[in-house]
């Protein structure tokens, strides 16, 4: 089975000029470290987030090893506290938030818009350096003994009692936040001001709409985290009582301020996943996305409603029952635009001749797992059930279905889908399908048991547990090993394909979009001349006709 089930687009690689591309335009380490080319910066991000992904993965794996037995026999509880804290911080701040926007978005967004680069190329490079500086603080913390507050840094433990590196960690998160703010700002300006002639708002690929919504959330939510962390650092350094009740502060205020960012941050992580899914569904069904405008506006609706639900993390923190009821209701509302997306993707699949390439396998995984994650999110949004399962493994399973089953599946879908564009080579289809299968099976085996064990009462964040929970925990650890294999495999075959993969034409999937109208890999300035868009989004006949005309001319 190879990828030839889809015809290559009916036009041929033009002339020798296409042989020069962004990869071979310049050589040398400095040509990468000082590059302003959004495509090269995307590669820099890809390398760095991958490293952080495996670092965070090692922490997760050590936790799963500890949980193989009910006794806390492998690590002390202090070490275990550090493991889950570092796992959360590394995965959220250094992998999930930058992964899709800064890697895939950085590479593809300007090309989709027909632009030569992002609006602010130097700022884009600076964002990567800011990310690396923030990440360096993270690495220093890991090497010098870690941090044990949980990724939420709840006060007063984080400011008055913890003896670990809280200050350095929060400083790292604070700095990294500016990297995402500046990336979001750069994307927004680019989408507003750099679109090719003819590319009106409703001709934009749905990827762009979703990344737009993500960038708005990044830009308006992240600064609130920044100021919250500033106050936390001030409290920890000066030993004053901003959030410490013993000194007159209010710990619930910290939770409000923290979740005002960190709940929207969930949408910062999932909206880019939805962006990738929309593109892949259109490409592998060869159809227009059903209800384009609904899918587009549902991204904005998620971004907006996402700002109004934060206090559902505080149901048992002592907020009033009335505000809890309002936040419970608002939480239900945010499910509506998410459901619109799922229904419209499914409706697009209906009666389509779907080709089962690897990205499409990940898409199906995403749709199923995101739905499970979303519906269990409604359980948690309902006041009564939340009180019952709060701080249990049910919550852990829920958000891993969204973050791992959703975002990471989408990231892998996107990496495979755009791999031929990024590298100019096809990945080996058989191996990729195998790893997609491993990821799906491994993921479900890891996290489905956690729903069950959480519902019957296993609390999160402990290294020891009651013996009757052992069977489900062993299943979960077994699943984690399969999942790990599913993540390591792509490293091997994607690396292999860089040298030995079949050469990809400009449009190996026969998909619609400006990124498929340029060579693979694209030239340094993306297009040999600025394209003019004459087709509606995902209009296959019109796009292919326009491509033929360009070819003839």
């Amino acid at each position: 089975m190879t990828s030839t089930t889809i015809d290559d687009a009916p036009f041929i690689e033009p002339s020798a000029t296409a042989k020069r591309n962004y990869l071979n335009d310049e050589y040398g380490v400095l040509s990468w470290l000082l590059t302003r080319d959004h495509k090269r910066i995307a590669i820099l991000y890809a390398i760095s987030v991958t490293i952080f992904f495996f670092v965070g993965g090692i922490f997760a794996f050590l936790m799963r090893l500890e949980l193989l037995t009910p006794e806390g026999d492998l690590f002390t509880s202090d070490t275990y506290n550090k493991l889950f804290t570092l796992h959360g911080i590394v995965m959220i701040f250094f992998f999930l938030i930058p992964a899709i926007p800064a890697v895939i978005g950085n590479f593809i967004l300007p090309i989709m818009l027909g632009a030569k680069d992002l609006a602010f190329p130097k700022l884009n490079l600076m964002s990567w350096y800011i990310y690396i500086i923030g990440g360096t603080f993270g690495v220093i913390v890991i090497i010098t003994g870690g941090v044990d507050t949980g990724w939420t840094f709840y006060t007063p433990f984080s400011t008055q009692y913890s003896n670990t590196h809280v200050f350095l960690t929060t400083l790292g998160a604070f700095i990294t936040g500016f990297s995402s703010i500046l990336t979001g700002l750069n994307f927004l300006v680019t989408i507003h001001r750099m679109r090719a002639p003819g590319l009106t708002w409703f001709r934009l690929p749905l990827f762009v709409w979703s990344i737009y919504a993500t960038s708005v959330v990044i830009m308006l939510a992240t600064p609130v985290l920044a100021i919250t962390l500033v106050l936390l650092m001030v409290e920890r350094v000066l030993h004053v009582g901003i959030f410490d009740p013993a000194l007159g502060g209010d710990p619930v205020l910290y939770q409000h301020m923290f979740w005002f960012y960190s709940h929207p941050a969930v949408y910062i992580m999932i909206l880019p996943g939805m962006a990738v899914i929309s593109e892949c569904v259109a490409a592998f069904t060869r159809k227009k996305i059903f209800g384009y405008k609904f899918v587009a506006f549902s991204s904005l609706a998620i971004a907006f409603l996402g700002f109004l639900v934060w206090a559902h993390h505080l149901f048992i923190a002592g907020i009033s029952i009335y505000s809890a009821m309002i936040f419970s209701f608002l939480t239900m509302l945010v499910a509506v635009p998410s459901a619109i997306k799922v229904f419209n993707w499914t409706a697009t699949l209906y009666k389509a001749s779907v080709s089962w390439q690897t990205p499409m396998l990940y898409v199906l995984g995403f749709i199923g797992l995101f739905t499970i994650g979303g519906v269990t999110g409604l359980f948690l949004g309902a006041l009564g059930i939340d009180v019952h399962v709060h701080d249990s493994y049910f919550v852990v399973a829920h958000f891993h279905y969204i973050m791992v089953g959703g975002t990471i599946m989408a990231y892998l879908a996107g990496i495979h889908y755009w791999w031929p564009k990024i590298t100019g080579r096809m990945y080996p289809e058989w191996w990729a399908r195998l790893s997609a299968l491993l990821v799906f099976v491994g993921f479900n085996l890891t996290f489905f048991p956690q729903f069950l064990v959480g519902y019957v009462g296993m609390p999160r964040r402990y290294h020891a547990y009651a013996p009757e929970f052992q069977v489900l925990n062993v299943l979960s650890t077994a699943g984690a090993t399969i999942l790990a294999a599913g993540y390591i495999l792509p490293m091997i075959y994607l690396g292999w394909s860089l040298k030995f993969g079949r050469k990809a034409g400009p449009n190996p999937w026969g998909a619609v979009g400006l990124e498929w109208a340029t060579s693979s890999p694209p030239p340094k300035e993306n297009f040999h001349e600025t394209p003019t868009v004459t087709w509606e989004a995902y209009d296959y006949p019109a796009f292919l006709k326009a491509m033929r005309e360009t070819q003839d001319a």
Partner: protein, 234 residues
Amino acid sequence: MRNPTLHELQHPGTSDDAHAHHHPFLQHHFEDLGQQHEASTLGMWFFVAQEILFFGGIFMAYSVYRHMYPEAWSAGAHHQNWKIGLFNTIVLIGSSLTMALAVWGAQGAKRKLTTVMLVLTLLLGMTFVGVKGFEYREHIHEGLFPGSHFTYVDHAHPELTRGVELFMVFYFTMTGLHALHMIIGAGLLIWFIKRAWRGDFGPEYYSPVEIMGLYWHFVDIVWIFLFPLLYLIH
């Protein structure tokens, strides 16, 4: 085709290819100076939007504690010298005027005026920061710096001491962050003074001065809120 930008409508001819492509400050990835100008201006507006959320968070926390400890907040405000605050407010509004004149000068290619106005803005800004530093020194002398240096005791109402310390935490954090923004602005001003003197700016290319102005005015407006909240309301 792309609609003409606002800049092109106001300045017909600037998007003329032969003309614009040779402008030394046109970056390669923009079609023309109009697009470049629109992008940088929009970028600064978005940056200001995220700044509003950044300061918004601490204003919100300030309001919560003001509501919780009204007497302590009033006592804290009594330690601020409103005359110095008013002086600084006037200095800052003056710097906003000179900043606006610098933008006007840059648009009209008035090289000397632009440079002088930017220098004045810098001097006024530094005056503000200097006066702020003087105020900080006074507070530290009075034992009002929060934490282990906080030796102040309210003898009339000893129960307010803890609340006054919290007020001073907010005072130092809010004005400190504001002063940090002033210092960053001053650094940018020094760079733009050099560029203005070199004659980089004119009717076709004045975006850096204009977005510098946006930033500077925003930082001024933050102070316009800080002054009454920290000095005047008792």
